[in-house]
Amino acid sequence: MEEVKGGSSSSAIRSSNIGFQLLKKCGWTEGTGLGVAEQGRLEPIQVHAKNDKQGLGSRKINNNNKNKRHQLLRDSTSKDNEAKKKAKALSKRAKKLQEQEKKLQDKEFERAFFREFWPDNV
């Protein structure tokens, strides 16, 4: 038996779940995010537990492998593949948006950083 860490992936909540149904009753549509423009993130945040003292960047966690396993797990458990596909298409769009946002954030960070340390520059 494998210990699943709280931060690692596991299968998504199924549509038979009462919480799933209650959220639908609140007006949620599968495959969309929350928020005024339904712009919210689709997947919960995944964090990998770190249990050693290895420094930052000293060992790249093999993300690709993890994702693959995750995918397999999901495929084997998912019943409604169609909804999944829809979600995928949407998440692609969301990814693009996220990337764009990330770029913007990075830029802003840089600007803020300089503003902060060299206030005279502003």
Binding site: L23, V36, G40, P44, K50, G57
Partner: protein, 760 residues
């Protein structure tokens, strides 16, 4: 008018709207300007004291004073404004006072005034800042200036400026949806994005539409200012310069194999090679910090007399306040007049990143990690995990080196790592938290469309699903998602929904007195390890493996200097054994509480028994507050006869009625599996059970190298079937050993029912 002295009232009381002294209103406006001219304090009509003038001179040198007029102009012309400024600009203490001077807080009713609220993410900050501001305004704390935090309200009918935790403002909104007692609301430290602040954002946006006279000031550090601006419909943005000197940043050439070792090495190097100035090292948790302190002392001790003396000070949230104060001690003097200077080395969790400011720090060492709260709705576990910090955090950390003079920051990672491995911002707490309590609050606030609520960063749908699921199983929401009567009562308790449920149903089990004590002890145990409402910053020092009850730990640590560690631990273990209840930790907590009361709260007794008196006193206060809420809803206070066989059984059953979703089953393999989620867990070594029960309820799921469940109590399988059949519904249950056991239990119950029918 009996409001002269400081008043401690229930946090749910609405501040009295009578009895504000009328004479104050006469003075109002007259003193204007800087408030110094008249020599008479506008707020209490007394002449200013000498200290007032002394402090005033210092206040005027704060950067924020240079923009006072500009700020007041922008405030006058706008309903919402965003003020950006780093720590040290004086915004937290000065802005609310500026607002107070400029805004008309009179109401048609001469006796009452409207208030200014300033929220803080942390309890400690709300308390200490309000004290400071009361001093600056030359008034008594709790009168014109007050604070309000969970379980403690230090404000009165006279209060015009109130510092409060963001969580408290949210609770106030539950009884006063339009926050009508406030004229201006200031959300401070908005960049920390605590759960409560994020919810307040969405809520206040709505309130502002309905209250044109209300104003909102959002105060934040630099980084997300533009995002705030966009969210608040382009509200004007004002910048206040901080007081920062340039900080030089150094990266490593190669990634470090062991960041702890690297951090210690860097400390030693700085001490050997760099000019005078104190060092701040960021590490992840209590154990690591204590370990590092020992090693630093040893390494520098090995260098002998040719290097200056050092004072190594740990800092984390579970450290008792007296020990925390040590970070403000001056560095040690040189050994002899011509010797190398001494240095103070503070080894801290990320509390030193934003919450606590230590002057004199010139060097910062940043390994790039912190303990963060994360919640995975898929396995329903909220835990503290060590993970890489964000660029924003790294930036904040480096800024700590430039408070007093130009400084240096040593990042124990490569520049490439900085740009590739760190995300730009720390995820806001709302994305990392269990939202059951938040959803209950939102429902109580009348927000029914949770899906389209104006979250700045909407959480993942699954997080909300879990919250709705939990509340539905607890009976707080019906199958349509509407708040039930039970849910309404539950929302009045400032506790987790599980605990609120346990309290509300405890009279049915004839043990509400005992459940009140257990709840108070549990919430105080948590409070003492995580000082604030906001998880991330305050709980960073939270995790702890000592084989002690947490209530006792603090004492053991502080006696550390008197006894050798193992001796202290042994003695504390013995003391703990005295209160142990073999059926569980919850019952042990109850025993401790009872013993404390039986010994008339004697400090000496506490000391001798390794019981943390401060924590117990706080728990007692919490209990009183909870009793008030109970009686407000006519929930009976009752106990089973102590000599009855059912005394502890009833308590355990009542606990199960709240915590039936936090149950683990002992498998034949000897492991525990959490019910439904089937996670392998282990009993935390701090448990006081003398056996491995087949079923346990647990209070907390702790993730370290192994998955632990902490604070556990033995319960019987039959009770699951009796008390929570809707959750233990086998048609909707993953197949596992527990399911087969439950099947047998259901059959047994059915047979019993039939037998009794036949007998009739």
């Amino acid at each position: 008018m009996s409001t002269e002295r400081k008043r401690k009232v229930s946090l749910f009381d609405v501040v009295d709207d009578t009895s504000a002294s009328a004479k104050l209103s006469r003075m109002n406006g007259g003193a204007g300007g800087n408030g110094v001219v008249s020599g008479v304090n506008r707020w209490n009509g007394r002449p200013y004291s000498q200290t007032y003038y002394e402090i005033f001179e210092k206040r005027r040198t704060l950067p924020v004073w240079q923009q006072k007029d500009e700020f007041l102009q922008v405030l006058k012309n706008n309903q919402t404004l965003i003020l950006v400024g780093e720590t040290g600009s004086g915004k937290t203490t000065q802005i609310p006072q500026f607002v107070l001077e400029a805004v008309d807080i009179e109401t048609p009713d001469k006796r009452k005034k409207m208030m200014i609220a300033c929220t803080q993410p942390r309890r400690v900050a709300a308390m200490s800042v309000s004290r400071r501001v009361a001093e600056e305004m030359d008034v008594t704390i709790g009168e014109e200036v007050g604070y309000s935090i969970r379980f403690e309200d230090c404000s009165s009918a006279k209060t015009v400026l109130k510092y409060l935790t963001d969580g408290m403002l949210l609770r106030e909104a539950m009884t006063d949806p339009l926050l009508e007692r406030y004229k201006v609301i200031i959300l401070d430290e908005a960049h920390e994005r605590t759960l409560a602040t994020d919810v307040l954002f969405g809520l206040l946006k709505e309130v502002l539409k309905n209250r044109p006279d209300l104003k909102l000031v959002v105060m934040s550090a630099t980084l997300e200012a533009e995002k705030f601006q966009a969210y608040f419909n382009g509200a004007p943005l004002m910048k206040v310069p901080g007081r920062l000197h340039p900080v030089e940043i150094f990266y490593t050439q190669e990634p470090e194999r062991d960041y702890l070792e690297a951090a210690i090495r860097t400390v030693v190097q700085i001490h050997l090679c760099e000019p005078q100035g104190d060092i701040l090292v960021f590490l992840t948790g209590e154990e690591e910090i204590e370990d590092a302190c020992r090693k630093i002392n040893k390494e520098i001790g090995n260098l002998g007399d040719q290097v200056g003396p050092v004072k190594v000070v740990p800092l984390y949230s579970t450290l008792p306040p007296a020990m925390q104060q040590k970070i403000f001690d001056p560095p040690p003097p040189p050994l002899d007049e011509l010797g190398p200077p001494g240095r103070k080395i503070v080894v801290s969790t990320n509390i030193a990143e934003t919450s606590l400011t230590i002057d004199g720090i010139v060097y910062v060492i940043d390994p790039g990690f912190a303990k963060q709260k994360v919640y995975n709705p898929r396995v329903r576990v909220e835990s503290l995990l060590v993970s890489p910090i964000s660029k924003a955090s790294a930036h904040q950390r480096s800024g700590r080196a430039g408070r007093t003079q130009p400084g240096k920051c040593f990042r124990l990672y490569t520049e490439k790592s900085f740009s590739n491995d760190l995300q730009p911002q720390t995820y806001p707490e709302i994305l990392r938290s269990n939202l059951a309590n938040t959803v209950l609050t939102l429902k109580k606030l009348g927000i029914d469309d949770l899906v389209h609520f104006d979250f700045m960063d909407p959480p993942a749908p699954e997080t909300l699903m879990r919250a709705l699921e939990v509340l539905n199983y607890l009976g707080a929401l019906d199958d349509e998602g509407n708040l039930t009567k039970l849910g309404e009562i539950m929302s009045e308790f400032p506790l987790d929904p599980q605990m609120s449920k346990m309290l509300v149903v405890s009279p049915e089990f004839n043990c509400s007195n005992e459940i009140l004590s257990v709840s108070a002890m549990l919430s105080e145990a948590r409070v003492s390890s995580a000082t604030a409402s906001s998880g991330f910053y305050a709980t960073s020092g939270g995790m702890n493996h000592r084989k002690l009850l947490r209530l006792m730990q603090v004492v053991a640590v502080s006696q550390f200097s008197l006894m050798k560690k193992w001796e202290a631990q042994k003695a504390a273990d013995e003391a703990k054994a005295r209160f142990s209840h073999i059926d569980g930790d919850h019952l042990t907590l109850l025993n401790v509480y009872h013993a404390y009361k039986q010994n008339s709260e004697d400090p000496q007794w506490c000391y001798e028994n390794f019981v943390n008196q401060r924590a117990l006193k706080a728990a007692d206060n919490v209990r009183q507050q909870l009793v008030r809420i109970m009686s407000r809803f006519n929930l009976k206070l009752c106990s089973t006869d102590f000599n009855s066989r059912d005394y502890y059984i009833n308590i355990r059953k009542a606990m199960l009625a709240g915590y039936f979703m936090q149950v683990a089953h002992l498998e034949r393999t000897g492991h525990y599996l959490t019910v439904k989620d089937n996670q392998v867990v282990h009993l935390h070594p701090s448990n006081c059970l003398d056996h491995k029960p087949e079923w346990v309820i647990y209070n907390e799921y702790v993730l370290t190298s192994r998955n632990f469940i902490r604070t556990v109590t033995d319960i019987r399988g039959e009770w699951l079937v009796d008390i929570a059949p809707h959750y233990y519904d086998l048609t909707n249950f993953p197949s596992c050993e527990a399911k087969r056991v439950l099947e047998r239990l259901y059959k047994k119950r059915e047979k019993e029912r039939e037998d009794s029918k036949n007998r009739k």
